[in-house]
């Protein structure tokens, strides 16, 4: 998951630290001790004690400070990561939630989130904004039932432009294109088969559902292809109404693309740069010494000792 990798890179910790996922809307968080935070994924209006802070960046949240995260401005899923991670109790070896089976719980107003020990590190690092938040083309590999669909249907599927339906959750997200849909008349009912995240299931109405982290483990609707794991964030973050297209790559190409993406994600730390603060937004500008190193416009800049 790209936003998790980015968050870990900004905090300089491993990507298996639990963080908070927010859909569409953030919240107000009060720090009971000084901690480092990072904000990634869908961008929200963000402020610490009323002062705007940059998204895709790490910040210090001092004891007693209030972090306010507003509505999503770009994308769908936003992430708040904390130095040391969120250390709720593990269930079946994980801190993840799976709402439909009652694993984990939604965070509610008034909850206390336990935070792990932060070995510490720099703050004020940022990553360039990624382009995955407005739809676009996602790549898919053929999967077990792809060839049960006629070539004509597969071609139409690749040529179609889909809109992301508002019907979406962690189980799956529905897309819709104009026209008759993509059902194969012979394949309305297939024997129930294993599902993996990224599978594109053609439901009874002929429109695709991309199955996600909380998908069912098996299902009887045929799958036309499987979205590459590295392109799933583009599916997940597309806001309702965004335009999306699907393009086949071969299994070999898909494996190569995915291997490159893993390398990029693992190297995100190197892509981070120190935040450059905009002087117009700095309320404490006068506390900085701004006149050191002033030079005369008329003097010879440097006596180089030559000539």
């Amino acid at each position: 998951m790209r936003a998790v990798a980015e968050n870990a890179a900004l905090l300089g910790q491993s990507a298996d630290h639990a963080l908070l996922e927010m859909v569409g809307l953030g919240g107000v968080f009060e720090a009971s001790e000084t901690m480092r935070i990072a904000l990634t994924g869908a961008a929200m209006a963000a402020s610490i004690d009323g002062r705007a802070v940059v998204w895709d960046a790490s910040h210090t949240l001092p004891t007693g400070a209030r972090l306010e995260l507003g509505a999503v401005r770009e994308g769908t899923y936003a992430y708040l990561g904390i130095g040391g991670g969120i250390t709720t109790e593990r269930v079946m070896g994980a801190r993840a939630t799976h709402q439909s089976t009652g694993l984990g719980a939604l965070v509610m107003a008034g909850d206390l989130l336990p935070v792990g020990t932060d070995p510490g590190g720099a703050v004020g690092w940022s990553l360039p904004r990624d382009q995955r938040f407005a739809g676009g083309t996602v790549r898919m590999v053929p999967s077990m039932q792809t060839h049960d669909f006629s070539k004509e249907i597969r071609d139409c599927f690749e040529a179609a432009t889909f809109r992301r339906d508002p019907r979406a959750n962690r189980q799956g997200v529905r897309f819709e294109a104009d026209g008759a849909g993509f059902s194969n008349p012979d394949q309305l009912s297939v024997v129930s088969e294993v599902i993996v995240p990224g599978d594109i299931q053609i439901a009874g109405d002929g429109q695709p559902f991309v199955l996600l982290a909380e998908s069912q483990t098996t299902g009887g609707y045929p799958r036309i292809g499987t979205v590459l794991p590295c392109d799933l964030p583009r599916v997940v973050q597309a806001p309702a109404g965004a335009a999306l297209r699907f393009a086949f790559v071969t299994l070999e190409e898909g494996a190569e693309i995915e291997a490159r993406a893993r390398k990029t994600w693992a190297g995100l730390r190197k892509a981070a740069t120190p935040l450059v603060r905009n002087p117009l937004e700095m309320q404490d500008l006068l506390s900085y010494r701004l006149t050191d190193g002033a030079i005369s416009a008329f003097d010879v800049p440097l006596d180089t000792g030559e000539e």
Binding site: V91, S143, G219
Partner: protein
């Protein structure tokens, strides 16, 4: 025309070995036996395995390992024998699960019996007299599909969905039964109600049932079920099959 068995990739997440295009008892036995044989090889590429009605699935990172090589390795095991008549793996469990059939707790017994051309009493005799196999686990965590009932139980799913059939429910359709892991809307008919929990996240083994296990239902009264529930037990008895 696709010929079976067939080895296919599933996204970049794994390899599926399927034994038939439609659900048959022989293909299900083959999938369970083949999965057991491959698991016993302890191949380093395979992170975990599962089986569906007609297939064995092996989770393999197809970015790190080439599909062609995995297909070749599995084809070798496939060629060892006819998996449709292979014995099921040893060490499976026989579960005896008490349940209430009919009445307010399982209101569709009569309807299902009628669809199968039986009286309610004959239906209960069938459902408790057939030792069923866990054909696959799926849809919800730990949830078994059980088969195979006699051909007269090839009753269709109802057209409308029953909105909230509770956890522990026994439902029937298409010669199979399902034991619900959680409250579910369903088109299958609610014929029995047990206290069995297919998913126990707090337990050392959260998924008590495995494909290949056998299940025998016994009929109890609503009062007996209430007593089991009051004691926080399911009344199930387990026995290892040799």
């Amino acid at each position: 025309m696709t010929t079976f068995p067939i080895i296919r990739s599933v996204g970049l997440s794994g390899v599926l070995v399927s034994f038939a295009p439609t659900a048959t008892d022989a293909a299900n036995r083959a999938a369970i036996a083949f999965r057991g044989a491959v698991d016993a090889l302890d191949l380093p590429q395979i992170e975990e395995s599962s089986s569906t009605l007609v297939s064995a699935f092996f989770r393999v990172d197809l970015v790190a390992y080439r599909f062609d090589a995995m297909r070749a390795a599995l084809a070798e095991v496939l060629a060892e024998r006819d998996w449709c008549d292979a014995p099921l793996p040893a060490g499976r469990t026989l579960w005896t699960v008490p349940a209430v059939f009919g009445g307010a707790l399982a209101p569709q017994l009569e309807e299902a019996a009628e669809a199968a051309g039986l009286s309610a009493a004959e239906a209960v005799a069938d459902l408790t007299g057939t030792r069923l196999r866990v054909l696959t686990i799926g849809f919800a965590p730990g949830q078994p599909y059980l088969g195979t009932l006699a051909p007269h139980w090839n009753i269709p799913r109802q057209v409308g969905l029953s909105p909230n059939v509770p956890q522990g429910a026994l439902v029937a359709a298409v010669q199979q039964m399902c034991l619900f892991a959680k409250e579910t809307p369903t088109g299958w008919r609610h014929v029995g109600q047990s206290a069995f929990r297919c998913f126990q996240p707090e337990a050392e083994n959260p998924f008590p049932l495995s494909p290949g296990d056998e299940v025998q239902f016994t009929s109890i009264s609503a009062a007996e079920l209430a007593r089991l529930q009051a004691h926080g037990t399911d009344g199930a008895v387990r026995q290892v099959l040799e």
